[in-house]
Structure formats: structure tokens, C-alpha cells
């Protein structure tokens, strides 16, 4: 098998790996690493009888994910200590939120940067506190990039901690300001729930809205299988709760994300067999097949395949993020700098 269906089958039906030969395992592990899903896969395979090497590599991945989880929570705690005097709500996003809330999407997940959401009015105060009191500093000193982030993006330019070497992305909304949909960030913060330590997480429907926005309205689907796996796990955690699907439909509309959310649900159902609500997922659309092909573009060497398709999605991601004239200016400036 020359695409990521091998990985998907192992994730959805772990027992199916019993038929894999050495080459199958080799390809599976390379794909899982390429998609940043090795920790999640190792958890899914936990308890099964595996070939010796595969068992060893899974044990390493579990250890590594466990440490990653601890580091992510520590980073959140360090941020909490610096920001709590401001009295502002600080909402954890993505991986850190999943592990902080003990959701299955966090199990084995690799977590890179810390992503937080704060009120736009609080952005200056948060930035100052992180730099003056927290020990974070700018990653880039480039004027164009810096101005670009501040004028058009949904987050501050990335900050890195000078001792711990970890990045933080401070968001004030979940999509670039130049993108067509305008999610209601204020209401996302208002609907968020407090964890024991005072940090917050998005409401279940908003978590899925954010994950879908991240996957389809913002990104070029690179590493999309991981994001889609998050969505699968979130749907399984929340799908049985009373009124969840209705709430998801309402929130997706409110954030102007009905399209991306519907597509995310359809693809999750197609690839991961996710139980979803048919009314919200809607009928299949022409672009779905291309998205599936893009998501599956990973070979047994762990390489991304389908160069042309990848490029098309890359261009699409920029197209969605900014109006055409602006896109032209942006690419021109970037090209001249290269």
C-alpha cells in the first residue's frame, strides 16, 4: 500500500496490524512518524502482541508522548503564573487543551507550541507580561513579518522562551483577519470553561469549530491526518452528550464555519469511521475526494507524495487566507526576500 490508508487502518482497527509483515511495519512506523501520529498509534496498539521491534518503538513513543504531555502542562502552568495577575481569561487551545482536560484527543498526542487565546483588547498587556516578566522573546526580528502578523494575523508573532526554548502562540481569534469567515472569538471566550487551576478550555462545539477552521480554512492540509484524528476523538468524546450536535450546528453557523465543520465531519467519517450527525456533516461535495487524496499523500518512506496536489492545496490555503491583491503583494515580498 503506497498511501496513508495503512496508517488509518492501524489507528481505526489496531487488531488489523496482526497481518503486517516486516515491510508493512516499517512503512507504518515511517508514516506514523511523518504524520506526527506515532504516540497516538502506540496507544492504540497498547496491549496487542507486536513484533519485538515494533513493540520497542511503541514503548519509546509512549514514553516520549508522556514526557511531551508533562512538558506541555508545565509550559501552560508557567504561562498561567505570569498571566494570572492580569485577571484576563486565558484559553488553552489544541494539544495542550486536550491533555489539560484529559480528553482522548490528547492521548499520545505530540504537542509542539503552546497555543492560547486571549481577548484582543488584552493582547498588549499579555504580550508585555510575557516579555517583561515571563522571559519570552521574539523569534523573528524581521520588520515585514512582524508588521504582517500584527496587522493581518490572528495571533502575535511567535514568542520563544529564552531558557526553556518553547514557543508560545498568543491568539486573539482563531483565523487570520484576512480570511473570509470571521469566527466570534469573544463568544468563544465567553463560552469557555474553567479548569481547576483557572486556565480555560473552549466549549466542546467550539473545540471542533476551531479544529475544523485550523484544518480547512487556514492550513494547506499538511499534517492533516493528525488534525482530523483530533476531530475524530473529540466527536467520540462529546458526540453522546445531550444536545451536542445541535449546539455544534449553531456554533458553526455563528462562527461562519459551517462549511469547514461539515467537511471535517465528512472526512473524519470517511477516513476514521467517526460517528457524526448527518444533518451537520451534510452531503458529500466535489472537493472531498481531493482532500482525501491530499490527506493520504504519504508513502512508506514517510515522504509526502503528490507534489502537484500539495502545491495546489498550498496555493488554496493562501487564497483562503487573504484577498487576491494582498496575496500577490505578500508573495512578491516573500519572493524578493528569498
Amino acid at each position: 500500500m503506497s498511501d496513508a490508508r495503512l496508517l488509518i487502518r492501524a489507528l481505526t482497527d489496531p487488531a488489523s496490524t496482526a497481518v503486517l509483515d516486516a515491510d508493512g511495519w516499517t512503512a507504518l512506523i515511517a508514516m506514523a512518524r511523518g504524520e506526527m501520529l506515532m504516540g497516538s498509534l502506540a496507544h492504540r496498539l497498547d496491549g496487542l502482541a507486536l513484533p519485538e521491534t515494533a513493540a520497542r518503538l511503541c514503548a519509546d513513543a509512549l514514553r516520549s508522548a508522556d514526557h511531551g504531555r508533562r512538558q506541555a502542562l508545565w509550559e501552560a502552568e508557567m504561562t498561567r503564573r505570569v498571566l494570572s495577575p492580569l485577571g484576563e481569561p486565558v484559553v488553552l487551545l489544541k494539544g495542550t487543551a486536550y491533555v489539560a482536560a484529559g480528553l482522548s484527543a490528547g492521548v499520545g498526542r505530540s504537542i509542539g507550541d503552546l497555543d492560547i487565546l486571549v481577548r484582543r483588547d488584552a493582547l498588549d498587556a499579555v504580550e508585555r507580561a510575557l516579555i517583561d516578566q515571563g522571559g519570552w522573546e521574539w523569534v523573528k526580528e524581521d520588520e515585514y513579518d512582524d508588521a504582517y502578523y500584527r496587522d493581518h494575523m490572528h495571533e502575535l508573532p511567535p514568542l520563544i522562551h529564552k531558557d526553556r526554548d518553547r514557543m508560545i502562540d498568543v491568539h486573539h481569534t482563531v483565523l487570520p483577519l484576512t480570511a473570509k469567515p470571521t469566527p466570534d472569538a469573544e463568544s468563544m471566550i465567553a463560552e469557555s470553561a474553567a479548569l481547576e487551576d483557572g486556565l480555560r478550555i473552549l466549549s466542546p462545539p467550539d473545540m471542533i469549530c476551531h479544529a475544523a477552521a485550523h484544518l480547512f480554512a487556514d492550513g494547506d492540509l499538511a499534517g492533516g491526518l493528525r488534525n482530523l484524528w483530533d476531530i475524530d476523538r473529540l466527536c467520540r468524546d462529546f458526540g453522546g452528550r445531550d444536545g451536542f450536535w445541535t449546539a455544534l450546528g449553531e456554533r458553526a453557523d455563528r462562527h461562519q464555519l459551517a462549511g469547514p465543520v461539515a467537511r471535517a465531519l465528512r472526512l473524519a467519517e470517511t477516513l476514521y469511521d467517526t460517528p457524526v450527525d448527518g444533518d451537520i456533516a451534510g452531503r458529500g461535495r466535489a472537493g472531498d475526494t481531493l482532500c482525501v487524496r491530499r490527506l493520504l499523500a504519504r508513502d512508506g518512506w514517510g515522504r509526502e507524495a503528490h507534489k502537484g496536489l500539495r502545491l495546489a492545496f498550498y496555493i488554496r490555503s493562501h487564497w483562503l487566507r487573504m484577498p487576491p491583491v494582498m496575496l500577490a503583494k505578500h508573495l512578491w515580498t516573500k519572493w524578493r526576500k528569498d
Binding site: W25, A30, R56, D60, H67, Q71, R303
Partner: protein, 286 residues
């Protein structure tokens, strides 16, 4: 990928794919006698970033399971080096089973000397020389410390001899054990030396760390004690995965530092270094 080579070094298996045949042929010659893994631990890829770069002024990009974002490509003449760098990268970034120390090691009677220090201190050359003189060569680049038992596992890759060190071996070892001389690499001239056969045959056998040395080349002969705290800090700096392993690494390293006698040694020439190692071994190793 077009071409593939597999090799097991110590406890770790690699699969190296390449757009070109030449680097893998050279690897195969250098790693003759090493076993090949069925399921490798890590994948390394040597590839041309653009298709035509496979043929016109070929330029080798290094990739794999674990990558650095901006690693500079190499010329095809240095493709072998690319494979080695790719394997090192997988170990440095991906290995989570052992505490990795940037150190060379040799063994005798089940006990090992570890040698660490900055680049150019001579740890690599020293381990290779001892490997030719009655010690079992366990590796010139990474020492793998078992997180549970504290045992040292061998990682006996071919030694990459650099610049003046190349001459120390060229006349003494069988020519078939030497790789091609690669000139003007980022680290000067490099020539690989395949370890003695017994180092490869016994590479799965771990050893107990018994002596830790910080050698320094180019100074009058001297032996100094180093405090435990300094040894600890220097070893954290010499480790590629100390932070990533968290508490387990702290315990393994603490035990190592508290139980293994340690000295800093200065030496003006290789004979003096070998004499000092033998003397300290006789005095300190238990």
C-alpha cells in the same frame, strides 16, 4: 526510494534510502559484516530536492523520521557523510530508549572507559587507537546508557577520522577497512575506518561503565580530579536527549556520576594518552 541499504549498529537498526546508488555502495562497503534489521528503528532519506538535481550538479538533502528544518545539502561526493549525518540525527533527535552521551567508549573484561569532551579533544581518535590495541571498540560518537540498568550499550559505527588523525591509521590497518578520503567537508578531510571485526561481532554485548575521562589534546601531560557537580553539568551538555528524557535521564546520569571514577587528562601525543588511560584503568577501574 530508488536505492536502499539497511544496517544495525549496536541496538539500533537503520534503513537508508537514496536517490543515488553511490553513497549506498560506499556505505555497504564500510559496513561490511554488520547485520541488517528486518524492521528498522529509523529511516534516513538522501534525496534531490528537485528532480533535475539528481543529475545536474547533484545535491544531497538529508531527511528522515527526525529532521532539522534547515540542514544544508551536501555534494554527491560527500553523500556517504550525508548518510552518517542522517543516522546521527535520528539518534540525537529520536532515540528515547537510552541516555545518549556524546562520548567514545572502549571495553575490557566487561567494563568500559567512557571518553567525552569538546570536538577536537581527541576522544574519537583515542577510542579507535585503543580499539587496535587490545580493547573492544564500542563507539566513537555516542555512548548509550541504559535508563534502567545504567549499562553502556555499544554503538560501533565506523570511526570518522579527521585531518591529521587519518595518517595515524593509514599505514597500520588493512586498506579494505578504510573508506574513501573525502576532502573539504565542513569538518575538513574525513576518512572512515571500519572497526575491528570483534567490535562488530560483539556489538550487542553491553558493558559496565568503570572509568570516565575528559581528554584534552595539545597540552603537557596532566591528570586532574573533577567535582561531581561539574561532571554532571558537562555530561548534560554532552547529551543530546537529556532534556527530552526528563526524570529518567536525571536518575541515570546521577548514578553514573556518583559511581564512576572520573578524571580530566591532558596529553601532547597519542602514546602519552594511551599510557595515561592504561595507568588510570589499572588504578581506578573496579
Amino acid at each position: 526510494m530508488r536505492h536502499e541499504f539497511r544496517v544495525t549498529v549496536g541496538p539500533t537498526g537503520f534503513r537508508i534510502g537514496s536517490d543515488w546508488k553511490q553513497p549506498l555502495d560506499r556505505l555497504a562497503a564500510l559496513y561490511r559484516g554488520y547485520p541488517a534489521p528486518e524492521i528498522p528503528d529509523f529511516t534516513v532519506r538522501l534525496f534531490a530536492r528537485r528532480h533535475w538535481r539528481r543529475i545536474v550538479r547533484p545535491s544531497v538533502t538529508i531527511g528522515g523520521d527526525y529532521m532539522l528544518p534547515d540542514a544544508a545539502p551536501l555534494s554527491l561526493a560527500h553523500g556517504l557523510l550525508g548518510a552518517e549525518m542522517g543516522m546521527n540525527l535520528q539518534m540525537a533527535l529520536g532515540q528515547r530508549r537510552y541516555l545518549l552521551l556524546h562520548a567514545s567508549a572502549v571495553e575490557r573484561d566487561g567494563k568500559a572507559v567512557l571518553m567525552t569532551g569538546e570536538s577536537g579533544a581527541g576522544k574519537s581518535t583515542l577510542s579507535a587507537l585503543l580499539g587496535e590495541r587490545g580493547w573492544r571498540f564500542m563507539g566513537d560518537e555516542f555512548a548509550l546508557i541504559d535508563l534502567e540498568t545504567g549499562a553502556l550499550h555499544a554503538f560501533p559505527r565506523p570511526v570518522s577520522l579527521k585531518n591529521e588523525a587519518i595518517g595515524l591509521f593509514e599505514s597500520d590497518v588493512e586498506p579494505c577497512r578504510l573508506g574513501p578520503r573525502m576532502c573539504d567537508t565542513p569538518k575538513g578531510d574525513i576518512r572512515h575506518l571500519r572497526p575491528p571485526d570483534d567490535a562488530v561481532e560483539r556489538m550487542a554485548v553491553p558493558a559496565k561503565p568503570a572509568l570516565l575521562l575528559f581528554p584534552r589534546f595539545g597540552h603537557a601531560p596532566d591528570v586532574r580530579d573533577i567535582g561531581e557537580a561539574e561532571v554532571f553539568v558537562r555530561l548534560t551538555q554532552a547529551s543530546t536527549n537529556y532534556v527530552a528524557l526528563g526524570e529518567a535521564a536525571f536518575h541515570a546520569l546521577s548514578t553514573l556520576v556518583q559511581t564512576v571514577p572520573t578524571r580530566a587528562i591532558d596529553y601532547p601525543d597519542t602514546q602519552s594518552a594511551i599510557d595515561t588511560v592504561e595507568r588510570l584503568w589499572a588504578e581506578l577501574a573496579e
